[in-house]
Each structure stands twice: as structure tokens, then as C-alpha cells.
């Protein structure tokens, strides 16, 4: 009992959780995931999949996500952009902003990154890669900043603004990919020139097996997690952001400038999403094409929700989602189960996280103690 509560306390301290938050941050997501898998199994049963195949597919899910070095490499490769963009969205949540625009910010960030990369392909690797990532972040920050400024100045709602900016970004991408100085030579379909070899993020594990795609973006991602943790927990700016998110009236009364907080946190969120786009371009895709963002910006919303807007939480949520993606592939291969099922499980996890009451109702025993009085 004592060790258990000590463990909880240490874990809670590590994750800078307040009292009672342990259950919300750790128990709740675990039960949500288990429940989602269970319901996924029920759905498979309902669609006529036999119990053997269901077992086989879950085994494949686990194996494909974490069962081999290739699986782990794929899981993290998928997790990197999700976590980067998720950190930005989580920061927005902390500031009280619901930023739906990560997808558009990824597109703009990735697009500008690829343009920069092939334009300045003569630069040495380290300079080119660094500046490519910086350009991508700045582009994402500027694009999100549009929503931030409009929100702060006119009071227009950021959900509407960012959704509209997403739609605009798709068209910007379509248009840009047809411009002669961007479009790949000899192609008539919208596709950009490729990132030059010295502009690519170095692969980490290709000395083991050339198929291992994990790249140095993982260090950038870990750095971003630490930076965000520091920003939220330690910095003055983070304190202003959190205050604004928890109680914007109190922030105003405390002499903070809510407009600057809104613009700043939107730009920061966009910078992270833009960085995700740039990392994806220079680490994985090597070029921009229509739909290269692949819904990462939307999945990142789920990641931020699942991680409860906490940098460490987002790290684990992103790894989980990356694992579901890599494992989902294995599910298709081994058991022939549709990739759509993985989407359903992901959605169920989010539903259960976003609506903790459901989990509390179906598993009351996990939350029965320390009931609040009055």
C-alpha cells in the first residue's frame, strides 16, 4: 500500500500532476484503450470475423507496433509528426484555444520547407537541414498567426478560422505544386521537386537494415517535448498561457495581455505543426504532393486530447497512435482485417478520453475511492 502510493506520488510528481489527477492521467487512458479494443473486437464479431482471426489480428497489432525493430522504427516514424503537431494543439488547449488548423499549418510548413530545400540545395547538409526546419516552423507559425491575430483583434472564433485556413491551404498546395519552379521536372501532375540528398534528415538505423526509416527527427521531437514541458511548467510565458486557458477573466484582471497570449500561443502551435510538416518532408516523404499531410493534423488533435494537453502525455499518446498505425498495417497483412477498424479503435479511444464519464460509469471500481464530498 505504501509503496504503491509512493509510486503514485513519484509518478504524479514526475508528470507534475496535482492531487487526484493520477487517475485522470494514467488509469483513464489505459481503461479507455482497453475498452476501445474490446469494442473493436465486438465490431469485428458483428461483421462476421471469427474469434480466431480477431485474436490473430490483435496479436498482429501488438507485433506490428512494438514486436520488432522494424515495427518500433515504423511506430516512431509515424509518431514523430503526430507528437510535434500534438504538442502545438495541446499548448493551444492550455491557452483555451481549440486549434483545428494543424493540418493546414503542416501543409504550409512542409510546402515552404520543400521549396527552401531544393532551392538552396548547394548548402552543406547541417545548414540546409537546419534552415529547412526553421523555414517550415516559421511558415506554420505565420499561417497559424493569421488565425491568432483575427481571433485576438476581431474576436472571430478560432475553430471557424482554422477550419477555413485548412481549406485554403489545400488550394494553396494544389496551386503551388503546379508552378514550374516547384513542380517536378517532366511531371504533369501536381508534385514538387524532391528534397536533395543533403537536405534529408539522416536515417538512424539504416546501418542495420536499409528499410528502417527512423530518422533524426526523433531527437527534434524529444527536444520539443522537453521544451514544451519547460515552457508550460517553468516559464513566465507558459504561466500566462495557462492562466488564460483556465480563466481568461482572471488573466485579464492579473494584468496579463490575453491578446498577446492568444497570438503567441497560436503562432507557437503553428510553429510546431509547421515543424512537423518540415520534418515529415525532409525525413520521410522527400517531396510534397497533394494530401502529403495525410490527416496528421487531425490525428494530432486526438493525440493532444488523449495526452491531456500534457507534453509527456502527448509523447505517450503519439507513440500509441504511431503504434496503432504501424500495427494496423500488420493487422491487414496477417489477418486481412480492414485498416478501417484501426480508425474505429482510434476514434473510440478518443471518444472515451473526451467523455471520461462513460469510462467512470462502466468501470466505477477504478475510480471509487476519494469521492469528493459536498
Amino acid at each position: 500500500m505504501n509503496t504503491k502510493s509512493n509510486f503514485r506520488k513519484t509518478t504524479a510528481d514526475l508528470l507534475m500532476l496535482r492531487q487526484g489527477a493520477y487517475r485522470d492521467a494514467i488509469v483513464l487512458p489505459i481503461i479507455a484503450i482497453a475498452t476501445a479494443l474490446l469494442i473493436g473486437a465486438l465490431i469485428m464479431t458483428a461483421t462476421g470475423v471469427d474469434i480466431y482471426t480477431i485474436g490473430r489480428s490483435f496479436a498482429a497489432l501488438g507485433h506490428g507496433a512494438f514486436g520488432s525493430i522494424n515495427a518500433i522504427s515504423e511506430t516512431f516514424t509515424a509518431a514523430i509528426p503526430l507528437i510535434l503537431a500534438g504538442l502545438g494543439i495541446g499548448l493551444g488547449f492550455r491557452a483555451g484555444l481549440f486549434n483545428i488548423g494543424a493540418e493546414g499549418q503542416i501543409i504550409i510548413g512542409g510546402l515552404l520547407a520543400v521549396i527552401f530545400s531544393f532551392t538552396f540545395s548547394d548548402l552543406p547538409t547541417i545548414v540546409l537541414v537546419t534552415f529547412t526546419l526553421i523555414v517550415g516552423s516559421l511558415a506554420g507559425a505565420a499561417y497559424a498567426g493569421i488565425a491568432g491575430v483575427l481571433r485576438a483583434v476581431t474576436g472571430a472564433h478560432e475553430v471557424i478560422l482554422t477550419i477555413m485556413l485548412n481549406l485554403i491551404s489545400y488550394r494553396i498546395l494544389d496551386y503551388a505544386l503546379r508552378q514550374p519552379f516547384i513542380q517536378k521536372d517532366g511531371r504533369s501532375d501536381p508534385i514538387s521537386k524532391s528534397v536533395p540528398g543533403n537536405g534529408q534528415l539522416p536515417k538512424l538505423l539504416d546501418w542495420i537494415d536499409p528499410n528502417l526509416r527512423l530518422h533524426v527527427g526523433i531527437f527534434i521531437m524529444v527536444g520539443a517535448v522537453i521544451l514544451l514541458w519547460w515552457l508550460i511548467k517553468k516559464s513566465k510565458m507558459g504561466f500566462a498561457i495557462r492562466t488564460n486557458g483556465e480563466n481568461s477573466h482572471a488573466a485579464l484582471y492579473a494584468g496579463m495581455n490575453p491578446k498577446m497570449v492568444i497570438i503567441g500561443s497560436m503562432a507557437l502551435a503553428g510553429g510546431l505543426a509547421g515543424l512537423a510538416g518540415a520534418v515529415q518532408i525532409s525525413g520521410v516523404l522527400e517531396r510534397a504532393s497533394p494530401g502529403f499531410s495525410a490527416g496528421i493534423g487531425f490525428d494530432a488533435i486526438a493525440v493532444a486530447l488523449l495526452g491531456r494537453s500534457h507534453p509527456i502525455g502527448i509523447l505517450f499518446a503519439g507513440i500509441l497512435f504511431g503504434g496503432l498505425e504501424a500495427g494496423g498495417r500488420q493487422m491487414q497483412i496477417d489477418a486481412g482485417v480492414s485498416i478501417d477498424l484501426i480508425s474505429i479503435i482510434q476514434a473510440l479511444v478518443v471518444v472515451f478520453i473526451a467523455a471520461p464519464l462513460i469510462i467512470r460509469t462502466i468501470t466505477p471500481w477504478a475510480f471509487s475511492k476519494n469521492k469528493r464530498t459536498s
Binding site: 515504423e74 504533369s188 501536381p190 504532393s289 485498416i339
Partner: protein, 338 residues
């Protein structure tokens, strides 16, 4: 609770017997349209299915949900369990080339892509669909009442525009022969520009593009965008086939989309099923070689589908002319081009 028990039992059972029989395994990675796109992914998979039925092999597929999945999906198949990997679609060209270069012992075949220079462990499959589309264009020109035919594509890439080129040349040839002035909306052969949805999955786009072409006077439309065309067919079904007819592409859509069988005038067939099955057979028999295979009218790699419901509506003279044109293309007396 019962389900939990059963599931865990099943998992345990699975772990005991993961290693299934070491049969020859063919794997397919689809493009974003999905395995059931009633079009090129499905047709190619049909080839695998035929091989399963005829040679008793194992078949697996992986669906790509976005372009970013190509490399990841290929990667997931690199554990050596696939004897041949079939990738479907021009857009997978780069990803396939990268995977093939990195894994020289793995056999690949890609539909709709020709490498120059060729890669030793990849067999490219391309199709002279312009030849077959030429026939469809000739047929359409003979059948139109408004004198206008429409077409649109998914992306401006060679495997798509080949259909559109063929259609226009076929119509032009008909005009030449009959002194008519049937026109084609949606594709300009000299500028190589035209109407594109820029995706291969939006049925809404298929409907909207067909509506636009219909509004501009077209009574026959050929969508070249995989499942997008199903949206166009839905519109035609509502308007009635007297007002709007659809020319299918890739597969015989009367067979893959039987509910709307009466709107398809014909389909331009791209016999990926037969080429994919042939590649699998070659790999099994040890005669697999990298390089290029081209499907033509002559080797039955491309063609047009039977008229089905329009069998009686197409005048016998027109049928005869089309047969003659086919023979002309095969013997080289008619050239598919401007």
C-alpha cells in the same frame, strides 16, 4: 467477460501457430482508392485472386489511405514473407523503386509505371489504353445525340491521360470518316491540359464534374479517376441513360457495379488482372524477369467491354466499323495519334 476469455484464448492459439504453411505468397499494395474501388486496384487484385484459385497461392493486400502510406506499407512487407509484391499505380513509382533498390532480392511488379532504365527486380506493367480508348471514342462519336462527349481525369499523369488521348483521337477519326463534328470536352490533346479532380477517391467530385459536362451538352462521359467515376454513374442513373451515358475504365463496370449496369455504354478494359496473374505465374515458375510488359489490343492486354444493355441500341454498322478499326490498329494501318 466471455468475449475477453475467448479473445485471450484466441490470442494464445494464434501465438502457437503463427507460422502458416509456406505457400507461395503474392502481396499487393493498393493506391488510395482502396481494394474495392471497382476499378484498377480491384482489377489488379482480381488477378491475384485468380492466381489463388488456379495455383493455390496465398494472397495478401495492404490498402494505402494516403500517399504517405506507400513507403510505410511497402516497408511492412519487407520481412521476406512475400514472394512477389505487386504495387498498383503510377504514384507508387518512386516508393517502389526505392524499396526495390534497397531490397534487390525481393521481386516486384508495378502496374502503370515504366522505369527508364529498368530495375532488374521490378517488372513494370503498362498498357496501351489509348488503343482501346480510341475504340470507345469511335463508339461514343457514333452514339452521341448532342454531338458532345465529355471526359475528365483523376490526375494529369500518363496512365490517366492515355485514356483521354485515345478517346479524343477515336472521336477525331470518326469525324474524319463520317464528316461529322463531334467534339470532346475536358481534354485538349495538343496542350495536354484538361479537367482533373486531383484525387482518386471523391465520389462527390465525380458527380459534380459529370454534372458540369452534362450541363455543357455532353451526353456521354468517360471519367478516368477510379472510384470517382462511380459518382458520375450515380448521376447518370438519376438522369436516365437516355440523357447521360458513362464509359467505364479499367474494369468492365457492368460487372463491378451491376446496380447501375444500364448507364455504362461500354468500358475501356485495362486487363491488369491477366498481366498480374501472368507475373505471379512467371515468379512461381522461375521465369520472372525485370523490365517492362505492355498490354495492347493485339495481345488482349487492353480492349473494350461488351455493349451489354446497349447491345441492341448500337447499330450493327457501327459495330462492324469498330471491329474494322480494331483490326486496323492491330495491323498498324490506323495510327492512334493526332
Amino acid at each position: 467477460m466471455e468475449i475477453v476469455k475467448q479473445t485471450s484464448l484466441a490470442i494464445g492459439f494464434t501465438l502457437l501457430c503463427t507460422a502458416s504453411a509456406n505457400a507461395f505468397t503474392a502481396c499487393q499494395v493498393t493506391d488510395v482508392g482502396g481494394i474495392d474501388d471497382a476499378s484498377f486496384n480491384q482489377t489488379a487484385w482480381h488477378g491475384v485472386e485468380n492466381a489463388i484459385a488456379n495455383r493455390g497461392i496465398d494472397g495478401r493486400f495492404l490498402e494505402s489511405q494516403s500517399e504517405t502510406d506507400y513507403a510505410a506499407n511497402l516497408n511492412a512487407l519487407m520481412d521476406g514473407s512475400c514472394d512477389i509484391i505487386v504495387t498498383v499505380g503510377f504514384l507508387m513509382g518512386e516508393a517502389t523503386a526505392n524499396a526495390a533498390t534497397a531490397n534487390p532480392n525481393q521481386k516486384f511488379s508495378i502496374v502503370d509505371f515504366a522505369y527508364d532504365p529498368t530495375i532488374p527486380n521490378v517488372l513494370g506493367q503498362i498498357f496501351a489504353t489509348d488503343e482501346a480508348a480510341f475504340l470507345a471514342g469511335y463508339l461514343a462519336a457514333g452514339m452521341t445525340e448532342t454531338g458532345t462527349i465529355g471526359t475528365f481525369g483523376g490526375l494529369n499523369i500518363p496512365p490517366v491521360t492515355a485514356f483521354m488521348n485515345g478517346l479524343v483521337y477515336g472521336v477525331d477519326y470518326y469525324n474524319e470518316q463520317h464528316g461529322t463534328s463531334v467534339s470532346v470536352l475536358g481534354w485538349n490533346t495538343s496542350s495536354q491540359e484538361g479537367l482533373f479532380t486531383n484525387n482518386f477517391d471523391s465520389l462527390d467530385d465525380g458527380r459534380a464534374f459529370a454534372q458540369n459536362l452534362y450541363d455543357e451538352g455532353a451526353d456521354i462521359v468517360m471519367p478516368v479517376a477510379g472510384p470517382v467515376g462511380l459518382g458520375s454513374a450515380a448521376l447518370a442513373a438519376e438522369l436516365g441513360s437516355d440523357s447521360l451515358k458513362i464509359i467505364g475504365v479499367d474494369a468492365d463496370l457492368v460487372a463491378t457495379d451491376p446496380e447501375r449496369a444500364d448507364v455504362y455504354l461500354t468500358s475501356v478494359l485495362k486487363r491488369m488482372d491477366s498481366t498480374v496473374e501472368a507475373v505471379i505465374n512467371a515468379a512461381m515458375d522461375g521465369s520472372f524477369e525485370g523490365g517492362l510488359t505492355v498490354g495492347t489490343l493485339a495481345n488482349n492486354g487492353v480492349g473494350i467491354a461488351p455493349y451489354h444493355n446497349f447491345e441492341s441500341a448500337v447499330p450493327p454498322e457501327l459495330k462492324a466499323e469498330i471491329d474494322a478499326v480494331r483490326a486496323g490498329i492491330i495491323d498498324g494501318s490506323i495510327s492512334v495519334g493526332p
